[in-house]
Amino acid sequence: MKFKKSFGEKTTDIVIFLIMLFVITITLYPFIYVIGMSLNKNTLTSMDTIFIFPKDISLHSYKTLFSDPLLWKAYYNTIWYVAVGTVINVIMTMLGGYVLAQKRFFLRRKLNLFIIITMYFGGGLIPTFMLINKLGMYNTRWALIIPGAVSAFYIIIARTFIESNIPESLYESAKIEGANDIGILIKIVIPLSMPIIAVLSIYYGVGHWNSYFGAMIYLPDRNLHPLQMYLIDIIVKNSSRVLEDLGIGVERTLEMMQIKYAVIVVAILPVLLIYPFVQKHFVKGVLIGAVKE
C-alpha cells in the first residue's frame, strides 16, 4: 500500500534536495573557479576575478608554466615516487598481511603486537630525522621511499582481508599437494587478493602523489623535488623562477595569480581524471578498515 506523500514529506524531500545541491556547489565550485581562472586571458582586471567562467580563453599561463624545466622535472619525480613507492608498499604490506594471517605461525601474536604498537607510539619527528640522516638517505630519493615502506594500519587491513576471504582449508590442501608457504602466497593468496591489492595501490599511490613533508625536510636539492614541493614554492613561498621572470607592476600580480591557478590544475588533474574509475576502491578501503576499528 503506497500512500500519496504528505505535504510535509514533500517539503522535506525538497529541503534535502536543496541541501544536496548546496553540498555539490561548495565542493565543485573551487575546482571550476580554479580551472576558469587559469584559462583567462592575461588582460584580466581585478574585478574579473569574481566570475567563475573565463571571459576570453587563453592558454598563456600554461605556456609560461610549461616552459619551466623544473615543472617537468617535478612531474617526472612525482611519477617516480608514486611508481616505485607504491610497488614497494604493496609488496611489503602483502608480505606482512599474509604471514600474520597464518593462524599456525608461531610468532603471529608477538609480531602482531610488535607492529600494532607502532600505530600508537613512535619516536617522533626529530629522532626519525636524525636516523634518516645517519643512514645516509638525506638528499636522496630513498628518503621518500624507505622510511615509509609500509604502514602498520594497511598491514592490519590486508591481514583482515586475507583472514576473512581465504579459507584455512585452501592452505591445507595446497600443503598436501606439496606447496610451501612462498608458493601458496604467489599462486593462491595473491590471485585471490586482487581486490585488496587494488585498494592498497590506490591509497598508497594517492598518498605518494600528495605527500610533501618528507621532501620538505630531507631534500634540499630542487632537482629531486616532487610536484607538491614545486607547488609550495610557487603558491605558498612565492619563490619560483617562473614568477621572477615575469615583469613587475599590476599586470604582474594578476599574471602571477593565474600561474598559481594553472599550477593547481596541473597538480590535481591526474587525480580528478582517475578518480571516477577508482572511487569504489576508496570506499571499500574504509569498509574493510572499519571491521577492525
Partner: protein, 321 residues
C-alpha cells in the same frame, strides 16, 4: 627432524630442560618460509619505527653531533623543564587543544548529518552523484587546498577580497590575521573531510535491520520517527566510538598543514606543540630540545588514547587492542 620422528614423548620428557628450545627450533623449521617472508617487514619496523624510539634518548641529554646519542652528557629532565617554563608552553598547548577542540565541535557532527540526509534521499542517481562529488576533496593534497586558500583569500586579486571590494569595503589580508587562522584552518579541514567521513556512518546505517523500518511503517511511524527511533540509535555505537577516539587524539594536529599556512604574524593562534618541535628540532637543529617537545606531545597523546580506549571498552565493549 629428530624430534619429529621420535614423536611427542621425548619432547614431553625434556620439557623442563630444553623442551621450549626444542619446540621453538621445530617451529622455526616448520615456518621457515613464513619467517623469510616477514623478515623485510620486521627489519623495517625495527629500524624505522623502533629505531627512533631508541633515539628518543636524546630528549634526556644535551646532544651534540660529535659525541653521538650515547656520548652526549645526560641532563635529566632539563629539556622538558626549559620547555615547560618557556612562554611557548602554555600558548602552544592552548592552541593545540583549541584548534582540535573547535575542529571536533564543528567537524564531528557534519558527516553524521550528511550521512543521515543522504540516507533520507531516495533518488538513486542524484544521491550517488552527490556522494561521489563530496568524496573528491579528501583526495586532493593539502598543498593544493592551502594553495587555493592563499589564492582565494589574496588581498590583491583573491575571490573573497574582490567581493569585499565590490561592496566598497577594505580588503582583508586574512592570512596574517591571527583571529582568522582557526576559522580558515578548521573550515578547510571540514571541506576536505566531511564527505568521506560520512562513508563509515552510511555503512553503519546500511547494517540496520530493514525489518525494523517495515515494522514501524505498519505501526504508522513517520519519517522523523524512523530517524529518531531506529536510524539514530542504530548508528549511536559508531558515533560514540569515533567521538571518543577523536577526543583521545586531541593532541594530534595536522601540523604539516599548519606549517604551510602559518607565518610569524599568526603564531599567536596557529603555533602548536608539533610545529614548535619542528622549528626547534629541524629548522634550528636543537635536536635534544626538539625531541623533548615531541616526546611530551606523543606521551600525552598516548595517555589520552589509552584513557579513551578504557572508556569505549566500558561503554561499548569495543577496544582498539
Amino acid at each position: 627432524m629428530a624430534i619429529q620422528k621420535t614423536g611427542v614423548i621425548p619432547v614431553y620428557c625434556n620439557r623442563k630442560l630444553n623442551g621450549s628450545i626444542g619446540s621453538l627450533l621445530h617451529a622455526v623449521k616448520r615456518d621457515k618460509y613464513l619467517l623469510l617472508l616477514i623478515l623485510p617487514v620486521v627489519i623495517y619496523f625495527a629500524v624505522f619505527q623502533y629505531g627512533p624510539m631508541y633515539g628518543v634518548y636524546i630528549a634526556f641529554n644535551d646532544y651534540t653531533a660529535g659525541k653521538g646519542i650515547l656520548g652526549s652528557p645526560w641532563n635529566n629532565f632539563e629539556n622538558f623543564k626549559v620547555f615547560f617554563h618557556s612562554s611557548y608552553f602554555f600558548r602552544n598547548l592552548r592552541n593545540t587543544i583549541l584548534l582540535n577542540g573547535y575542529g571536533l565541535l564543528w567537524g564531528f557532527p557534519i558527516p553524521i548529518v550528511f550521512a543521515l540526509l543522504l540516507n533520507e534521499y531516495k533518488d538513486g542517481q542524484f544521491k550517488k552523484f552527490t556522494q561521489t562529488v563530496s568524496y573528491i576533496p579528501h583526495f586532493i593534497s593539502t598543498v593544493v587546498i592551502v594553495g587555493m586558500i592563499f589564492n582565494f583569500l589574496s588581498p590583491t586579486n583573491g575571490l573573497v577580497n574582490s567581493i569585499i571590494k565590490l561592496f566598497g569595503y577594505e580588503a582583508v589580508n586574512f592570512m596574517v590575521k591571527p583571529e582568522w587562522f582557526r576559522t580558515i584552518f578548521i573550515s578547510s579541514g571540514i571541506w576536505k573531510g566531511f564527505g568521506f567521513g560520512s562513508v563509515i556512518y552510511l555503512a553503519a546505517i546500511s547494517s540496520i535491520d530493514p525489518q525494523l523500518y517495515d515494522a514501524s511503517t505498519v505501526d504508522g511511524a513517520t519519517r522523523w520517527h524512523k530517524l529518531r527511533y531506529i536510524t539514530l540509535p542504530g548508528i549511536l555505537p559508531t558515533i560514540v566510538i569515533l567521538l571518543i577516539l577523536d577526543i583521545g587524539s586531541i593532541m594530534q594536529t595536522d601540523f604539516t598543514k599548519i606549517l604551510l599556512m602559518y607565518n610569524s604574524a599568526t603564531y599567536e593562534t596557529a603555533d602548536v606543540i608539533s610545529t614548535y618541535a619542528y622549528r626547534t628540532g629541524i629548522v634550528r637543529s636543537e635536536y635534544s630540545y626538539g625531541a623533548a617537545i615531541g616526546l611530551f606531545n606523543s606521551t600525552v597523546n598516548l595517555c589520552l588514547l589509552i584513557l579513551a580506549n578504557k572508556v569505549t571498552k566500558k561503554l561499548a565493549d569495543i577496544s582498539l587492542w
